[in-house]
């Protein structure tokens, strides 16, 4: 198991370095823009008045407050996208990538069981995403004050946790599709498409009444609540995201455990 885990973790080292640096730079850029953004808050508020209700709900009413700014910009947009790219890409690659590279046969011809291989991949994914979450958290906490972005450390931590859990849920879905089909591109395409659809349903569901009943099916409904960054821990939201990750993992376990591998 140790050899497997070491191997699974090694696969992510470059991702961690690359995305870690990219993440910190992105955050710095966003934070550096904040003072200017806040100073034109009056204009912004006027602009917000004209935005559809959905956007205001989604991004929070006050985009000029530190919390509102972080929620709408980093946690709701580019930061989230970066995390989803890493999560879906790495999740899809974990099993299906090895199968397509024809390295899986030799790996599974060792005493390692399929379940152990899958588990090591999943653990490595969780560690990767959590580490990136910690980096995102630390960068805002440490550099934020330099740009007048003072946020409560606990709120920031819980928001980072929600971002991590959402990413893990999507990573788990991508891992499951990849492990079940052996096709990396299928896993990426289906998971990305699902994420996009979920995002739209959640965003439009706020105003479009017909979509409202479907909002709970969107993981972003559970992630991007208006409470993010201000409301403390939301146990139900955490439970939903964890449950989705667990169900996807269980499905991967069952299907990958008995499937014929491509040679």
């Amino acid at each position: 198991m140790n050899g497997l885990l070491a191997k699974a973790w090694r696969d992510h080292r470059r991702t961690l370095t690359g995305f870690g640096i990219g993440l910190v730079l992105t955050e710095l850029l966003y934070m550096a823009v904040y003072p200017a953004m806040r100073d034109s808050a009056a204009d912004l508020r006027a602009m917000m008045e004209n935005l559809p209700e959905a956007f205001r709900q989604l991004f929070g009413e006050d985009i000029a407050s530190p919390e509102g700014y972080l929620r709408s910009q980093l946690f709701g947009e580019l930061g989230l996208i970066l995390f989803l790219v890493v999560a879906i890409g790495s999740g899809a690659r974990a099993i299906a990538g090895e199968e397509e590279a024809r390295t899986l046969d030799l790996l599974l011809a060792t005493p390692a069981r399929r379940a152990q291989v899958l588990r090591s991949k999943a653990i490595a994914l969780v560690v990767l995403i959590t580490t990136l979450g910690a980096i995102a958290f630390a960068a805002v906490l440490v550099f934020g004050p330099a740009f007048d972005l003072h946020v409560d450390a606990f709120d920031l931590a819980t928001a980072s946790l929600m971002l991590v859990l959402t990413s893990i849920a999507f990573a788990s879905i991508a891992l499951a599709i990849g492990a079940a089909t052996g096709h990396r591109s299928a896993a990426i395409a289906v998971t990305t498409g699902t994420a996009a659809l979920m995002y739209v349903v959640n965003a439009l569901g706020v105003t479009v009444e017909a979509l409202e009943p479907f909002r709970p099916l969107s993981l972003f409904r559970w992630y991007l609540s208006p409470l993010l960054l201000t409301g403390g821990l939301a146990p139900v939201n955490i439970a939903v995201l964890l449950a989705v990750a667990a169900i996807a993992y269980a499905a991967a376990h069952v299907r990958f455990g008995r499937r014929d591998l491509a040679s």
Partner: protein, 267 residues
């Protein structure tokens, strides 16, 4: 030393991958060392050295990192044999795998299968891509493993390789086991063709009556024979005429298959 012979697409690789639980049989069970191929996979795999016909390696690792990983997956067994085996096959294990040539990648795959001194080798077309010198070294390694008491299960679609290392041969075709034979018996049963080129035309009848001749055909100064079994009579019959040239063709695998197929059908 067990050879597993069949044309491309006959089901050799499928059989092997079922043995190693990489694919599952729709029905039936596979037992290796008397153990169930699915339930006891880890215990089986610990004692098997597997070289697939085609495989990928972790491009970003060095050969040494790659092989050490496999040692770790087998509980550390074989780590001390990495360096000696690499030296023997002259593989530089300090460079990244992505920089290795095709032949050198095959070597890494071979070391991976040999390093833990398994009881059973499962080799799927193991020498393709190896230069002749390395093929020789590989055969020496196989011989040593055999001397140690290991079993070798060698799958191939080329007869000479199987002939060289195996005692017994199974032939598979379209997923069905056609025959299991000693290699000598297989070859003696096989048809082979011989062309004699004489100075002057010779009647085909001189040969057609011989016991081991299956068919004889004359064209011009030549006679084409299809022979099964001992060649003694045939050569002596030919020697009564002035011979210009002799061409023999080793029985092709397809010939042997056809033969085995026919035998299997009538048995």
């Amino acid at each position: 030393m067990f050879g597993f012979l069949g044309p491309n697409g006959a089901g050799k690789t499928t059989t092997i991958r079922t043995m190693l639980d990489l694919i599952r049989a729709t029905s039936g069970h596979v037992r290796v060392f008397g153990l169930d191929s699915i339930a006891d996979a880890p215990s089986i795999h610990a004692r098997v050295g597997y070289v697939p016909g085609e495989f990928g390696l972790y491009e970003r690792l060095t050969g040494e990192e790659y092989l050490r990983m496999f040692a770790a997956l087998r509980g550390g067994t074989g780590a001390d044999r990495i360096a000696p085996l690499a030296e023997r096959l002259s593989l530089d294990i300090t460079v990244k795998i992505r920089e290795l040539s095709h032949g050198n990648r095959r070597k890494a795959g071979l070391i991976q299968a040999f390093m833990h001194e398994p009881d059973l080798f499962v080799l799927d077309e193991p020498t393709q891509g190896l230069d002749p010198l390395m093929q020789q070294e590989f055969h020496a390694m196989i011989d040593e493993a055999r001397a140690r008491g290991a079993t070798v299960f060698l799958s191939s679609h080329v007869l000479p390789e199987v002939e060289r290392v195996c005692d017994r041969v199974a032939i598979i075709r379209e997923g069905r086991l056609i025959s299991v034979d000693d290699i000598g018996e297989l070859k003696s049963k096989a048809l082979r063709s011989i062309d004699f080129h004489f100075e002057a035309p010779v009647p085909a009848g001189d040969f057609a009556s011989l016991e081991s001749v299956v068919s004889a055909r004359a064209h011009g100064d030549s006679i084409s024979l299809v022979v099964r079994g001992p060649l003694d009579e045939v050569v002596k019959a030919a020697a009564r005429h002035p011979v210009v040239n002799v061409e023999t063709r080793e029985p092709s695998l397809e010939d042997i298959f056809l033969q085995a197929y026919r035998d299997g059908g009538t048995a």
